[in-house]
């Protein structure tokens, strides 16, 4: 299967399009706020922002059903917001507070929500890949028809355990969608300097796993590809690979000056292919929304994000005895 062109005339309702816009905007504003709080010293350690990649998780969440699972790496804020986790709880975890999803003990890279079927938030590059296949293994074992979205980057795609997992997922026909979020840089190393294949998804062919490349800056293309992948997995045909070509605007983490690429490269991507602008354009030109409507949404999102930041500042630090809890079940 070849890469599919983005859909010119989307068969999509105004309501749906507005929803995508709102969800992507929430991630963008949330991440901007995270960056700000990091600069203020309220967020510590490593903090990896998702700005630029919003269409990936929003598009794929639109293809998911209730009960489907997701697992990803440390660049996880967007995934959590997209699957419906509370921005207050996510932000408070970033600030290491009691009100955070992990009670302040996990931080940016290690967050979970069993209720929303979000299984982390994993800090070791590539480790989430067999874990995602394991979640799918459990679903197949139980025969519950669920699918697991296992996200990893172009950098993680060079970890051996990814291919150990491809082999077993194909062998055991596990219902797992492997989502390669190819943002073109493994930290500071461009894909062509680290990866022998130009099309990473094609590596699945060696294991008999079908897949495709997707325009990751277009939320509708992502959703459409996600639906194909999910249908494949849910029908019992085993795993499916989506290589979603995306781009991160910020550095690898907050402390990355991103000198390995030009300012122009980033600027060009922002101006020409920004996922949120594309939807905004569709809403306006299609007559689905007015500038005022969109301004109202912007305002609403800003309020949600401001509230989460307030919550994250006001929530107390965890009590000292939290140090000794949750080590054993």
């Amino acid at each position: 299967m070849a890469a599919r062109k983005s859909v010119k005339k989307p068969n999509v309702s105004a309501e749906e399009l507005t929803k995508h816009y709102r969800e992507m905007l929430l991630i963008r504003r949330f991440e901007e706020k995270s960056g700000q709080l990091y600069g203020m010293g309220l967020i510590g350690g490593f903090c990896h922002l998702y700005i630029g990649q919003e269409a990936v998780v929003v598009g794929l969440e639109a293809a998911a059903e209730e009960g489907d699972k997701r697992v990803t790496s440390y660049r996880d804020h967007g995934h959590m917001l997209a699957c419906g986790m509370d921005p207050d709880g996510v932000m408070a975890e970033l600030t290491g507070r009691e009100g955070g999803y992990s009670k302040g003990k996990g931080g940016s890279m290690h967050m979970f929500s069993k209720e929303k079927h979000f299984y982390g938030g994993h800090g070791i590059v590539g480790a989430q890949v067999p874990i995602g296949a394991g979640l799918a293994f459990a679903d197949k074992y139980k025969g519950n028809g669920r699918v697991t979205f296992t996200y990893f980057g172009d950098g993680a795609a060079n970890q051996g355990q990814v291919y150990e997992t491809f082999n077993m997922a194909a062998l055991w026909k596990l219902p797992v969608v492997f989502v390669i979020e190819n943002n073109q840089y493994a930290m500071g190393t461009a894909q062509q300097r680290s990866t022998s294949s130009a099309e990473i998804w094609e590596r699945g062919k060696a294991f008999g796993i079908p897949g495709e490349a997707v325009d990751g800056m277009n939320v509708l293309s992502v959703k459409e590809a996600g639906e194909r992948a999910v249908a494949h997995c849910r029908s019992g045909d085993g795993p499916y690979i989506l290589e979603v070509k995306t781009y991160r605007y910020r550095g690898h983490s907050m402390s990355d000056p991103a000198k390995y690429r030009t300012r122009e490269e980033v600027q060009k991507m922002r101006e020409e292919r920004d996922p949120i602008e594309q939807v905004r354009e569709m809403l306006l030109t299609g007559g689905h929304a007015s500038e005022e409507d969109l301004k109202a949404i912007d305002k609403e999102i800003k309020e949600i994000v401001s509230k989460s930041a307030e919550f994250a500042k006001e929530s107390p630090e965890p009590a000292l005895d939290e140090l000794w809890t949750d080590i054993y079940a």
Partner: protein, 462 residues
Amino acid sequence: MATEILMPALSPTMEEGTLAKWLVKEGDTVNSGDILAEIETDKATMEFEAVDEGTVGKILIGEGTEGVKVNTPIAVLVEDGESADDYEASSAREEAPSGEAPAEKAPTDKPAAAAPEKAPAMPAKVLEPDYPEGTEMVQTTVREALRDAMAEEMRRDEDVFLMGEEVAEYQGAYKVSQGLLDEFGSKRVIDTPITEHGFAGIATGAAFGGLRPIVEFMTFNFAMQAIDHIINSAAKTLYMSGGQLGAPMVFRGPNGAAARVAAQHSQDYAAWYMQIPGLKVAMPYSAADAKGLMKTAIRDNNPVIFLENEILYGRAFDVPKLDDFTIPFGKARIWREGSDVTIVSFGIGMQYALEAADKLAQDGISAEVIDLRTLRPMDLPTVIESVKKTNRLVTVEEGWPQGSVGSYIASEVMQQAFDYLDAPVVTCTGKDVPMPYAANLERHALITTDEVVEAVKQVTYR
């Protein structure tokens, strides 16, 4: 000239085996490569091929004979014109493995030692037994006890499954999972490819997803490929998720030195895993403990490292005949009461500890021998109480000295019972070297009973 066919060693730890079936009879002509017999080792039934050509002159050990020692002549090949009557057993070999001349053995003889090796004698008194007094006991090997524990727990809970290399169709590389595929099917007894990092991660994900995996590592040496998932994924997630998500699972397999498998296959990981908060670590010695602790491990809601030992697999011990026999974690067992010194050990180290205690008793030294059974949680109170009584402590383990289990115990005892010590604690460990292959060097690298005896004499100033 007649050629002896000797009982072969068909595994690194095999010392004896069962001559299950002869596939040739006296008078048959054999060529090299012909299958002569089927021999049952502690792990599997193996076909035994001829190396030399000739005629089977005489079968010395009849089929069905158990406990045939390695290197015992089992048959004689003769060349044309020769007669088996020319053969004289005792002259044919320089090194007899046992006292009894093989030729004198009637083919149907049952040797005195039954197939499973006997463990050292049980102590006169076991303190706080794990089962009611008067419980019927059944001689069971550690191998069978582990299998029985897994089978019982798989019957009890549908979510328990076993995965690993060769666990299903091969019946287990060390035969621990024998029969499980037949009973539970391929959905629950799963052969994996040789891909430890990957399947440990998949099992951890399955545990996050609500199942209770048992992961068999063919040996714990190979678990180093998977250690990121054991520690970073399985052990830490409960904490990192603020208690939302844990990994109820067991990582099990043989640990430590087997026999003559050298450096990369002979390492004791007890001290490594014992260090990790979020893991529990069990390392049983007896079959009863192997069974009771394995059942507890499978029911535990945390990742459990279950360190078995290849040499112990074939040892038989009394196992209580109970419908549901479990042993709690964090409860040491006092194998032998004593008053002059406390010897603390676990796993195969207990063999040296118990043998040393027997020897010391002959010298009038009364040793209290404690089997920790689990290293995390560790029953330090039992050790401290014992030290308060004996005032002397020797620890015994197979692992390396630096950062050993014994050094942790010594440190705790010093901090908690310094005033009770009448001598510095001595930690007996394996030597600080990679395991050598040569038989004599390997013996020297491992801890020995004599070294334990010597350590006790040192702390008792004898």
